[in-house]
Structure formats: structure tokens, C-alpha cells
């Protein structure tokens, strides 16, 4: 049996080989200096049969989540020297169950991004398709799992920031229902949309990590909690009715791949499926960004160079500045009706539309991202960038839960399939995802007990 210390050493060796050199994934910003000591303590607990549910699991954490003593830099020069004075609630829960934090994962600066390129500490490389973006903003979290730097990781999702990189990197990423996981200790980007979520190599591990981090928390005002039964996740549900989202995608190969997977699975389990069009989904991007810009502007006012690092406007990159200026404009009293109130109304319509849809369907399915990832450093318009969130941001607006699971490859690039369920139905979501996973995995991803197995593509 492999000990926690041995597993940790294997992952540390991987990081040494391929984080800053070798494949230059650049997923990990900081290693926990106490990791080996902590691993030793966990192994002693395992020997005494007193270890928690995450004993032996090695977990990376997105750099916008506070881990006591490590740097919550948020991928930014503004907070590059900011050492966390406390553990976020999700970290506290992980530690209570003997999960081991290996270090802090790279991310888009203050979670503002879609590709992993806006980090002040360098872009994250896609481990499955070197030279292409890993996706963002939880770029390092997803790339770490994909590159065998850890078993699982934590990311945060505001408009697709877990699901988009999970799709590009060929791993599983969950955006939980809004309120099901405490945000205490998460450095917010957009408080009415942010959620912390798990990333893993398979659905079962994602469910395990979600089971640990979920729960009502008095320290988070919007916290609701959620329940799942891990044993039932393995059961294939009966009589599932799937809504296949009808949405115009330029790259038809992506939709065809997803359609094929749904057809195979529906046939195997005798489920039903039907195409469905959502009227207001085309307005999602125009609804999402005014809300994000406004809330981000608000949350960055404390970064004025007094208590925490540098004044943000003086040390940030272009995308962060864009969002601050946008939020500043939208927040002006004379513009509120023109932008913000319109966005809130559109948000309500989108939420109602999803609610209505879930009366008829158990889940909705669509591609996670309507395009393939671009090359790192490629020139791309802001409008094209917005499209990365076109299919993920609607679910943040509605507050429902969604998961991205690997569905196959196009041109050897991983493609993710997004499954969406009504809020607080993570149980059903995991069951459906696990059912698809049993049928549809083309490439066997390593399970978390075998850290170095699995494919890796070297420079193409």
C-alpha cells in the first residue's frame, strides 16, 4: 500500500520535472513547506485507523482561497506577498478529514479570465495539448490534476472558471449550486455568482471532495448547504429525461461529438432525450458581464495599498483594469438603469427559464465550451473571449449546479460535456455524470490511487 508520504513525494517529483521545466505547465505557484510533515502525521493516523475520509488524498488549491500560512496571491502582483492569516472554511473541512494541501495553484489574475493567460506569474500550459491554453480562471487547479501534480484540487467558478479549464484539460470539474459550499475565505470576484468547487480525475473523486466541502456555514450569509449520498452516486438512475440544449455553435464537430455520446448513453440505459431551445440563453453573456464588472469593482475597493499589498489599479494587468473601469462606469448613478438594472431583470428571466425547463427535464446537456482552446499568446478579440463563457455563465446566473466531464477529443484536444441539474440536486447530477462516465470515457484517466499512470502528450 502506498503511503501518503510516498504519494506526496511522487507528486513533488512530477512538479519538479514539469511545472517550471520539462512541459512547463506552470500550474503550481507555491508548495506547502509543511507538506511532508503533515503527510507523516496522516500516515500515523491511517496506521491507527483514525484517519478522515480524505486521508491519503493530495489536493492543490486555487490561489484565491485562503490557506493559513500560504500566499493567496490571486495570480496578482497586488497580493504577491499576502500570506493568509486563516484557513477558508473549505480548507478547514479538508484538513479535518486529513486531506493534504500540496500547494497553491496558478489562476487568472483575481479570477478575471477565461484562458489562464492573465496571471501575473505566467500563463498555464495545457498538459493534454501543450502550447494551448489550459482555460481559466482555475487554470492551475485543472492543469495540476491533468498533469498528475495532485489527486484533486479546488477551484472557483463565477461564469465557467472551473468547467472551462476542466473541459480543456480533460478532467472533471463541478460548479456546485450557489450557496451549497461556503465562500468564507474565498477572495471574491463577483459575490452573487462565485462558488468554490472540486476538480478531480473522475466523477467519484469529485463527489467525495464535494461531500467534504459542502454544507451550511453561518459565516457565509447566502449559505444553504446541500446533501449527497456517495454510495448512491454509483447507481445508474432510471427514467432520466435529458434536454439537449439547442445552441448555435460554429464548430459542429463539438456538437456532433456530444450528440453521439448522449445517443450511446441514452440507448444503453433506456433514457429519453429531446432537443430544447432556451429563449434567453443568447442574452447570458450581456447579462453576466455587467453584474461581474459591478461586483468586481466593489470588491476591489479594499485593495487600496493600505492593509493588503499594492493599490490594485497600479499593479494589475489589462483584464482586471478593464473590469474595474467597466464596473466603475456601470456603478455611476446615471448609468444604473441602463446597464445594471437591465442585467438584473435579464438574470431573473434566465433563472425562471431554467426553473421551467427543470419541471420537464431531469438535466440539460451541452458542450462545456463552444470552441477549441486557442494558442497561448494568440491575438483574439474580447468578443471571441466572451464566447468561452456562453454556455457556462447562464448556470451561474440561475444558481443551478453543473459539471463538466471528459467526452472525447477533437484533433487530440480534450472536449468536455456539461451536464446541468436544478439547484441543490448535486446527487442526481453526480449519478447522471457517473453513468455517462461508465459508458463514454475513451481514455482511462488514472484513479487517485495511482498518481503517475495515464497519458501525457509531449510537445506537439
Amino acid at each position: 500500500m502506498v503511503t501518503t508520504q510516498e504519494r506526496l513525494q511522487t507528486y513533488l517529483n512530477q512538479i519538479e520535472m514539469h511545472n517550471k521545466s520539462g512541459n512547463r505547465i506552470n500550474a503550481i505557484l507555491e508548495i506547502n513547506p509543511n507538506a511532508m510533515e503533515e503527510a507523516k502525521l496522516i500516515d500515523e493516523k491511517i496506521k491507527k485507523k483514525k484517519a478522515g475520509k480524505l486521508a491519503g488524498k493530495i489536493i492543490a488549491v486555487k490561489a484565491n482561497i485562503n490557506v493559513l500560512g500560504l500566499h493567496a496571491s490571486c495570480g496578482s502582483k497586488v497580493l504577491e506577498n499576502y500570506k493568509s492569516p486563516y484557513d477558508a472554511e473549505v480548507i478547514k473541512k479538508i484538513k479535518e478529514e486529513d486531506g493534504l494541501i500540496i500547494g497553491m495553484a496558478n489562476c487568472d489574475e483575481f479570477a478575471c479570465g477565461w484562458s489562464g493567460e492573465t496571471s501575473a506569474f505566467g500563463a498555464t500550459n495545457n498538459p493534454k495539448s501543450l502550447g494551448l491554453v489550459a482555460g481559466g480562471s482555475s487554470s492551475g487547479s485543472c492543469a495540476s490534476v491533468s498533469a498528475d501534480f495532485c489527486d484533486m484540487s479546488l477551484g472557483s467558478d463565477t461564469g465557467g472558471s472551473i468547467r472551462v479549464p476542466a473541459s480543456h484539460c480533460g478532467v472533471v470539474g463541478l460548479k456546485p449550486s450557489y450557496g451549497s459550499v461556503s465562500r468564507y475565505g474565498l477572495i471574491d470576484m463577483s459575490m452573487s455568482l462565485d462558488q468554490v468547487g472540486p476538480i478531480a480525475k473522475n466523477v467519484s473523486d469529485a463527489a467525495l471532495l464535494f461531500d467534504i466541502i459542502k454544507g451550511k456555514d453561518e459565516k457565509d450569509a447566502i449559505s444553504l448547504g446541500s446533501n449527497i449520498n456517495l454510495k448512491e452516486v454509483e447507481e445508474v438512475p432510471r427514467d432520466i429525461k435529458i434536454g439537449i440544449l439547442d445552441f448555435k455553435i460554429n464548430d459542429l464537430r463539438i456538437q456532433n461529438l456530444i450528440d453521439k455520446k448522449i445517443e450511446e448513453t441514452v440507448k444503453k440505459y433506456k433514457w429519453k432525450s429531446e432537443k430544447i431551445k432556451l429563449e434567453y440563453i443568447d442574452f447570458a453573456v450581456a447579462t453576466y458581464f455587467p453584474i461581474v464588472y459591478t461586483e468586481f469593482f466593489s470588491c476591489t475597493r479594499r485593495l487600496d495599498g493600505r492593509r493588503f499589498g499594492k493599490k490594485i489599479e497600479e499593479a494589475c494587468g489589462p483584464e482586471v483594469l478593464r473590469r474595474i473601469l467597466g464596473g466603475s462606469e456601470i456603478s455611476k448613478a446615471e448609468h444604473a438603469g441602463r446597464y445594471y438594472h437591465l442585467a438584473l431583470k435579464a438574470r431573473k428571466l434566465i433563472e425562471e427559464e431554467f426553473k421551467k425547463t427543470f419541471r420537464k427535464f431531469d438535466c440539460l446537456i451541452c458542450p462545456t465550451v463552444p470552441r477549441l482552446p486557442h494558442k497561448i499568446g494568440e491575438k483574439i478579440s474580447i468578443e471571441e473571449m466572451f464566447q468561452y463563457d456562453a454556455l457556462t455563465s447562464p448556470i451561474n446566473l440561475s444558481g443551478d449546479c453543473a459539471i463538466s466531464i471528459p467526452a472525447g477529443e477533437i484533433d487530440k484536444i480534450p472536449i468536455g460535456m456539461q451536464i446541468i441539474c436544478e439547484k441543490l440536486n448535486e446527487q442526481k447530477l453526480f449519478q447522471i455524470a457517473r453513468s455517462f462516465e461508465k459508458v463514454n470515457l475513451q481514455r482511462v484517466l488514472p484513479n487517485s490511487s495511482n498518481p503517475t499512470a495515464g497519458s501525457r502528450r509531449k510537445g506537439e
Binding site: 484557513d87 447566502i222 442574452f283 458581464f289 494587468g317 437591465l342 483574439i380
Partner: protein
């Protein structure tokens, strides 16, 4: 069109970003104006309880507490006598506060012994 890699921006680039922002938010507004359906927005949050009982207190467990004014007792500490609880929680609290104070001062760009320096108008 531009790339999205992080870089230190010049004043000229900052001006270009400002101009771009106006056009971006206008495009959002035009798109949203196409929605004809009227809807009332209710931003209230439903909670089971709108009041918290006095004396039902929960220490933020093992967390170093940022603000000592918000310290309260945990349900786990209720098994001890009130005096023991009081003495232990004061000891735990002051240990937590010292650690938190040290890290907070390390994080502040300019500090002097017991206070953070923030010059007027500097930010």
C-alpha cells in the same frame, strides 16, 4: 484584437483600455434592450430566521480571528464550567490574536510597531 497575457501597462495602454470599456458596456446595453418582456426584480433573500439568539455563540473554531471584537464561545466548549470556559477562551483568543496580528502586520506594505501607516491621499 490583442493577446490576453499579463503585462505592466503603459499610460497609453490604460487609455486604450478605457476607450474599449465604453464600447463593451454599450454593446451589453444594446443587447439587453432587445428584451421586451417586463419583469419585477425581487432581490430579497429568504432565510429561516431573521434573528440570532443572544448567548447562542459559536467561536470560529480553530480559525485565527481577524477581529477580536467578534469572538464568542463554541458549543464544544460548553462542557467546561463558565470560569474555565472564560479563562481558556481568553487564552486561546489571545494566542489566535497574536498570530493573526503578526501575519496582518507582515501583509501591510508599511507598518510601525503597533500600527499600519497609511498617509492621507496616498491611496
Amino acid at each position: 484584437m490583442d493577446d490576453f497575457l499579463w503585462r505592466q501597462m503603459s499610460d497609453k495602454e490604460k487609455e486604450e483600455v478605457k476607450k474599449q470599456v465604453d464600447s463593451i458596456i454599450d454593446s451589453f446595453s444594446k443587447k439587453l434592450s432587445q428584451i421586451k418582456q417586463k419583469i419585477e426584480v425581487d432581490n430579497s433573500i429568504e432565510r429561516e430566521k431573521f434573528e440570532r439568539e443572544e448567548n447562542s455563540v459559536s467561536l470560529i473554531n480553530s480559525h485565527p480571528t481577524p477581529d477580536p471584537a467578534h469572538i464568542t464561545l463554541t458549543s464544544t466548549s460548553r462542557n467546561r464550567s463558565p470560569t474555565q470556559r472564560g479563562n481558556n477562551s481568553i487564552r486561546e483568543t489571545s494566542k489566535i490574536c497574536e498570530l493573526d496580528k503578526r501575519i496582518m502586520f507582515e501583509n501591510a506594505p508599511e507598518a510601525n510597531k503597533d500600527f499600519i501607516i497609511a498617509e492621507k491621499k496616498k491611496w
